[in-house]
Amino acid sequence: MANFQTPPKPESASSISNPRSSISNSPNFPFPFPPFQTIFTTMPEATAAYDSKVEGNVIITRVDAAINWMRKNSLWPMPMGLACCAIELMAAGAARFDIARFGAEVMRFSPRQSDVMIVAGTVTYKMALAVQRIWDQMPEPKWCIAMGACASSGGMYRSYSVLQGIDQLLPVDVYISGCPPRPEALLEGLMKLQRKITGESSLMDQKRVLIESFS
């Protein structure tokens, strides 16, 4: 990651053959540092093969790890609030528990923009196919948290009207016990999901699917 706060020395800026460098040298340019393209366009120059300033800002990693790191810290939940668990879900999103500390504060009520569906509450048979349809509308990659006893197993509703666990319709990644769970339990489940995402091989899976589609 490049550090843009460091102003380059004048002589190094003059040696750059980037047309934008003239912009950065103009007195009207509002920032005290050149646009970030200049840092990368110095790389092909023979004189800039080794740049000690750039070197300290380079991280070497696997693409999978980088992608997973970005995914797990920006999980946008689809709040599938169906019963009292949704109250605890709202509490987890509010100031005291602050789910934003884990990057999951952007509750999206559109499944198209969501990453993780938090099924919070009793899934009745009347609602079950609607939940499944919303899940189907979420783009990959997507995860599912079954929050509370009802979403995990039907809970105390061993009844003609209640689906006995959302895992009968969706693949669930994390089950959270409680009736309803405390917001801390939801945050713990979220951290468990983050840990699970860290171990995923996102690109390898795509590669395998691609290869299988050819063969």
């Binding site: 009347k126 079950a128 196919l129 039907g154 061993r158 009844s159 003609y160 009207s161 209640v162 009968q168």
Partner: protein, 189 residues
Amino acid sequence: MALPETITALEGKFQVLHKTDFRGETALTVRREDIVEICRFCKDSLGFDFLLDIASVDNFGDEPRFEMVYELSKVLANEHLRLKFSVSEDEPSVPTISEIWPTANWHEREIYDMMGITFTGHPDLRRILMWEGYPYYPLRKDFPLGGKPSDVPQVAFTKAAPLEGGPFVTTATTATTKDREPRARRMDE
């Protein structure tokens, strides 16, 4: 409780089959075909301005099987009147009173949904809790608490809940409430 003049007025105008007083609550058993006229009389002439509830009871094993219960109230006078009549399983049909109290519309839809009693003259007799096409009436005593499998494609499906026949089941019996209410018991007992 119902005032004595209310009871007298009703007894003078309609046929009252049975009258019970229990802890200040008066319940009148009337004829099914009179229920619309009785409700209209109670509202227009006796001043019962509020229909609290309509309930249906499944006395499974008895004949007639079902019983309808209407709870009428006079809000400012704090007067309460209960009307009852029986409905046989062979003809589970009751005239609607949704023209008199609009709130009866949804009460009667719920009874139709849960107990399978139809209401003649009802403007919109659809299921209210379960979905259209669900084949059972879940509050009937011979319906298992865990449910039965069903499927309406693209709408909803049901499965029988696990441990059906195990703990917490209702039993179809005419014995005491304790014997038939949902509680932990085995069905083969």
